[in-house]
């Protein structure tokens, strides 16, 4: 018994030592200063130097808070609109913008250089949301596979229902995935309210594979990333080929630019923000050239501000689509749930 008590004491001392040595968050505290909280999604990434320079110049301490994917972010903002979880939000996309606007999540702010943002990206005449970047969800192909199998590369959405592309396409589900939802909207735009379901019937007949998330589709089933999968056609982004470049500068994959759907990501000052002035400066920062220039490398999207140069490799392997599809945000908000339900009945019923 005494040996046991002795051991217990040692264990107790050890526990105190562990806690005291900083292996604990008890006692960890925020440093003071003017903190501004930026609420964003999981895909947000920024060059450390660029953010640090902004913090130095502005005297602000930017705290980043992530809230899941773009859909989760929008819904968290709506849920907490009476006691916002931050001062400024970035990453609400065109699919969910209407919901946040209807619910009064954002307050108007017109940044200095908002004139440099193409009008086609604007979603709100009251300037509660400002476009920061533009992404394109597109069908991607593994070029090597098509060369090796001597099959012509597909170019359009319609091609994917042709027998020669049978069993080659994998797409994340619109029920569980953001790019998957964008692709559903893409097909609604391309084939209309009456035609999209026929198109999907064609995809199903052509043995399309539906995965829950983009990760399984792109990282596991697609043959063009890491070369492990068995499907050479996948739904991803216009920018994905830049992540698959080889040492000689060419990319193993290519985005089919006729199949793209545009998603604009917005930033805005939250209504009821505790630091509204600082929040406005963060929006300015997101539209600054230094931030816009690093958007491609860090978030795989195109800058929204006009004439910001993209990296040389981007113009070569990932040019932006000229005329991507896009649906009116209010229509998306109104119909989204019905389309998803119809898709579910059709494809997974």
């Amino acid at each position: 018994m005494h040996r046991f008590l002795h051991r217990t004491r040692i264990a107790g001392l050890l526990a105190v030592a562990v806690l005291a040595a900083g292996c604990s968050f008890v006692g960890a505290r925020d440093d003071g200063g003017d903190t501004v909280t930026l609420v964003t999604h999981d895909s947000f990434a920024v060059d450390e130097g660029v953010l640090a320079a902004f913090e130095r110049r502005s005297g602000l301490d930017v705290e980043i808070r992530r809230a899941g994917d773009a859909g989760a972010l929008a819904n968290e903002l709506v849920l907490t609109k009476d006691a916002p979880i931050g001062d400024v939000a970035f990453g609400v996309d065109s699919t969910f913008a209407s919901r946040t606007l209807n619910q009064g999540v954002f307050t108007p702010y017109r940044p200095r250089n908002s004139g440099e943002i193409p009008q086609r990206y604007s979603v709100d005449p009251k300037h509660r949301l400002t476009a920061v970047d533009v992404g394109n969800v597109c069908v991607n192909i593994d070029k090597r596979w098509f060369a090796e199998h001597d099959v012509p590369e597909p170019t359009s959405l319609r091609d994917l229902t042709e027998p020669r592309y049978r069993g080659l396409f994998v797409v994340p589900s619109p029920v569980t995935s953001s790019p998957g939802l964008a692709f559903l909207l893409d097909t609604v735009t391309a084939f209309g309210e009456h035609g999209w379901r026929d198109y999907w019937r064609g995809l199903v007949a052509n043995d399309v594979r539906v995965s829950a998330g983009w990760q399984e589709a792109y990282k596991q089933d697609f043959s063009g990333s890491g070369g492990h999968g068995d499907r050479p056609i996948v739904l991803s982004y216009a920018s994905s080929p830049t992540a698959e470049t080889r040492p000689d500068g060419t990319s193993r994959t290519r985005a089919l630019l006729e199949t793209c759907y545009r998603q604009v990501e917005y930033a805005g000052v939250l209504s009821g923000a505790r630091h509204p002035e600082a929040a406005r400066r963060v929006v300015d920062f997101l539209l600054s050239r230094r931030f816009q220039e690093q958007v491609p490398q860090h978030m795989y999207v195109y800058p929204a501000v006009r004439d910001v140069p993209v990296p040389e490799s981007w113009s070569r392997v990932a040019p932006p689509p000229r005329d991507p599809a896009e649906l009116d945000a209010r229509r998306v908000e109104r119909e989204r749930q019905r389309w998803v339900r119809q898709w579910r009945d059709l494809v997974q019923g």
């Binding site: 051991r7 806690l19 960890a28 450390e48 995965s211 596991q220 982004y237 490398q297």
Partner: protein, 534 residues
Amino acid sequence: MTSSLSGSRAYPVTVGVAAVIVLGFLGVFFAWPVVAILGLGLGGGVGDVLADPATWRLVAFTLGQAAASTVVALLAGLPLAYVLARVAMPGKTLLRAMITVPFVLPTIVVGMAFRALLGAEDGNVGAIVLANAFFNVAVVARTVGGLWSHLDRRTEDAARSLGASRMRAFTSVTLPALRPALGAAVAVVFLFCSTSFGIVLVLGGGRYRTLETEIYLRTVRMLDLSGAAALSLLQLAAVVVALVIAAVARRRGERTLRLRQATDTARVPQGGEWGVVVAAGAVLCGLLVPIVALVVRSVSGDDGWTWAGYRALTGTGAGALEVSGVEAALNSLRTAVDATWMSLLLGLLASAVLVSLRRRGSAETMDAALMLPLGVSAVTLGFGYLITLDTLPGQLRTSPLLVPFAQALIATPLIVRMVLPVVRSIDDGLRGAAALLGAGPLRVRWEVDIALSARTVLAAAGFGFVVALGEFGATSFLARPDTITLPVAVARLLARPGELNTQLAYAVCALLMVVTALVVLIVERLRVPTAGEF
């Protein structure tokens, strides 16, 4: 029988304070947020959801896959529990560490491994069941093995010498004695499987859905709070029913046992016992397949083998993370340390209250209340935090401490489940003898209860630590970018294109396995010196 000598008579205040601490924590960090978010959704639409036959198909599938997974986990876990408890062999420490590793792996990674291994690309119920079982074998092996190693072997031997077959001795002597631990394991595994999220999503291909995945989709993607509330209520009801069944099973099983030192009960297997050892070996191989697969994945690149992922561990994956892989490992350890001491404190206080409560009904109600967090969706809790905790002082809603709080909610019931059967099975005669020798009630607790259950408490602390290391749902929701843990880092990395991000994700996963195995090995080292306790 378990409460004939209880602290409540002598020290009602102490027990009362302990109860207030435990229930207070549960109230603030569980009941209040959950009730608040359910309250937002109640009213319109709930009736429609309940009237929809699709809802009931969802309930049936949820319970069915959980029951099947529990059976598989039990069948696979029992041979391992036997080997851990009864077989004298070298390397048992390593074995215990190895079977614990699956428990902490991120579900997205395990899901993808099973998806590839079983060819389950289009959604496969069998793969869901196997993957759920894969995660929970450790729960069965550890919970049951813990009690088994303390059972007096001589009772079985007596039955054998009286002519009972090995099987008969097992079913009529050992199994009844193990019932409290079996009941605990089944309850916990069933709850884990019925709220399994990532596995169902990945291996169900979006086609197979459970209450948990549907609550997530309705809450996070559709903001259909009334639909989510209706489904959450159903989930809660199912959990309560499962807990009541488990409590009834336990009530019939719990009794005073002659607990023995574990080293006394292990020996070299004889005759047919080797069959069980072989079965345990087969289970172990099954557990290793997905683990080996993901280690292989971490070193395979476009053009053959590569260490690029491991070399990148000191970096942030091209800005995908705010911290490096190594820092994420430190975050994991810090968070888990906090969660462990919190859950150990709560778990021991709760166990003390539970053995002291004289009324069986109140003890069981409190016991069930402690288990509820295992059966509630992480996203329900997370959204509940968002709308409630801002009214508390100290910016708790965005504090890094919120992560260990949430993890402690999940670890505490597991600790109670492991400690309580042992404490309850302690012979009251020992307590009486100590009291007779002049020990006060607290001293009795210390010298008898704590001393006899010290091994289990330590094992429970280690398991709580492991639970915290592997927790994903609540952590990914609550962790700030600079305090993300290893499982969250894996998920974030996998969400980005590029071969290097993939390799780094799998390298982070391997790091998580190494950290887990080391923690288990250290805990095992601490356990050995307590051999003189009896």
